[in-house]
């Protein structure tokens, strides 16, 4: 198991968001964290790479193990280099070119060798399936790209520092259907080399993209199984109604 979460609880101020979360993420597979809006999916992700603690009043208890090491006992900056994150809305660095965007993570961790940097940037852009589209003009501002391209730029930026795990927080929600499809293909490809955890509220996306799915509701993991199993034979009533789209109705009745 690449990542193990044990009895993780999380709060913002007095409000508790995650309750006794236990999860095992398998290496080089795509694990989806699925659930309705506002149920803690994003917080779950942010607890893994310690972004949650950046918020004022944030608190976490429990353990998060990366290859058996407690993430909360390592320096946060190292954790975040080993576990990368892609956000909902693409956020390339302003006033920086495509090249600079991808290179910055490397440069700021001390890499000086220009040839090495150039090579790593190319590799990252290739792995993010963006290289062919931008190779002729890497000096264009990152913000000049389309939404889908910007998101792939953000992926390249994250890949450049050579993480082992990639966390994705609803990465296609700001994209049009074509860009979404491209990104989903990319995600499947990435899982050959990286462990991917993707948060989504879209059942079809989980079906297309993930090997395993965890269903989260009101801060609790209600069910976890291989995606195929979970979607065909959900064990939990709420899971079933979410999958079949009758979730809202059930909430009103229950």
């Amino acid at each position: 198991m690449k990542l193990v979460l044990e009895k993780v609880n999380a709060w913002i101020g007095k409000k508790q968001i995650l309750y006794d979360v236990n999860l095992e993420i398998e290496e080089r597979k795509v694990t989806a964290v699925m659930g309705p809006s506002g149920c803690g999916k994003t917080t779950l992700l942010r607890v893994i790479n310690r972004m949650h603690e950046e918020v004022r009043g944030a608190k976490v208890s429990g353990t998060v193990l990366l290859d058996g090491e407690d993430v909360y006992r390592m320096p946060a900056s190292i954790v975040r280099r080993r576990i990368g994150m892609i956000f909902q809305k693409p956020n390339p660095f302003p006033n920086m070119s495509i090249f600079e965007n991808v290179a910055i993570g490397l440069k700021l961790s001390g890499v000086r060798d220009k040839e090495l940097i150039r090579r790593k940037v190319k590799e990252a852009l290739e792995a993010a399936s963006l290289w062919d589209e931008v190779k002729d003009d890497l000096d264009r501002p990152g913000t000049a790209l389309s939404g889908g391209q910007q998101q792939r730029l953000c992926i390249a930026r994250a890949l450049a520092v050579e993480p082992e795990v990639i966390l994705m927080d609803e990465p296609t929600s700001a994209l049009d259907p074509i860009a979404t499809r491209r990104l989903e293909e990319l995600i499947r490809n990435l899982s050959k080399n990286y462990t991917v955890v993707i948060v989504t509220h879209n059942v079809q996306q989980a079906a297309r993209v993930s090997d395993y799915t965890a269903f989260i509701y009101e801060g609790r993991i209600l069910e976890f199984n291989s995606t195929a199993e979970l979607l065909k034979r959900p064990k939990n009533k709420l899971t079933e109604s979410f999958i079949t789209g009758r979730f809202e109705m059930l909430r009103e009745v229950g």
């Binding site: 972004m51 900056s77 994150m85 302003p94 910055i104 993570g105 700021l108 930026r157």
Partner: protein, 266 residues
């Protein structure tokens, strides 16, 4: 009747606007006419001479340049750092913002007095003291514009940097400042243009001089703004003409700078 009142207000406000515009147009025209023919290579290079014997403002140009360099070095470093603190580190920046705005409102002659009391007694009248006085004008302007530019940088940029494992101070230095660079640069240009035109704080710090002062910052120095003041108020036609020429030069420089700054922020 109501229509009449409205028409009357339209007319009076138009008159007000015209009255507001006449001085600047007149000033630009007069300065151009009086000053243009004064500007020549010898004007720009020579030291001043007694009235009627030619002379120029070369030393004043040099003095201005040196003092602006000192002022900018201090003003930019203290200003940007302070702006960074207000935007990136402090929880409630209101108090600091108020103090900064109040510092900006201190009359510039008072700034000169303070630098006189604190610095000139130790190092004498000098370009350095003048530069320090000018830096006090620049600091609050640079600080506020840096702060505002940094606050415009969206938070998801900071999140992206943090998620890459970049420590906060590196992110500020290499990413946030970069993202805010347009606003910061325009603040720098604005404050420098302002410092170029000031004379009051230099009266008792740089003091003024008739000579080139070389690289020595510890000698009294002249500036273009001081020349306009002293020569403009003198009884000699010749010297007053030099004041006009200097005024035109100063206007051209500040105009160039503000056009440049507006270009950047587009």
């Amino acid at each position: 009747m109501r229509e009449l009142k409205d028409r009357f207000m339209a007319f009076s406000s138009l008159v007000a606007m015209i009255l507001a515009l006449i001085p600047i147009l007149s000033l630009l025209a007069v300065t151009l006419v009086e000053g243009a023919w004064r500007i020549s290579p010898s004007f720009l290079i020579n030291e001043p001479a007694p009235p009627g014997q030619g002379g120029g403002i070369g030393n004043a140009i040099q003095g201005t340049f040196m003092m602006i360099v000192v002022a900018a070095a201090i003003g930019i470093s203290v200003g940007i750092c302070s702006g960074i603190y207000m935007a990136e580190y402090s929880q409630k920046s209101h108090i600091l913002e108020i103090f900064t705005d109040v510092m900006a409102g201190v009359p510039s002659i008072i700034l000169g007095l303070v630098v006189f009391l604190i610095l000139v007694r130790f190092i004498g009248f000098s370009a350095l003291a003048g530069g320090v006085a000018l830096s006090l004008i620049m600091i609050p302007i640079v600080a506020r514009s840096t702060e505002e530019a940094l606050k415009e940088v969206p938070n998801d940029v900071r999140e992206a940097a943090a998620a890459l494992g970049i420590p906060k101070w590196k992110a500020i230095l290499y990413i946030n400042l970069r993202a805010a660079e347009d606003g910061i640069k325009s603040g720098l240009l604005l404050s420098t243009a302002r410092a170029l035109g000031e004379a009051a704080p230099l009266l008792f710090t740089a003091f003024g001089s008739q000579f080139y002062s070389g690289i020595n910052l510890l000698q009294p120095a002249s500036s273009m703004s001081l020349v306009i003041y002293t020569y403009g108020s003198s009884p000699w036609q010749d010297w007053r003409g030099m004041a006009w020429g200097t005024a035109l030069l100063l206007l051209l420089i500040t105009a160039f700078m503000s056009v440049f700054s507006r270009r950047r922020s587009r």
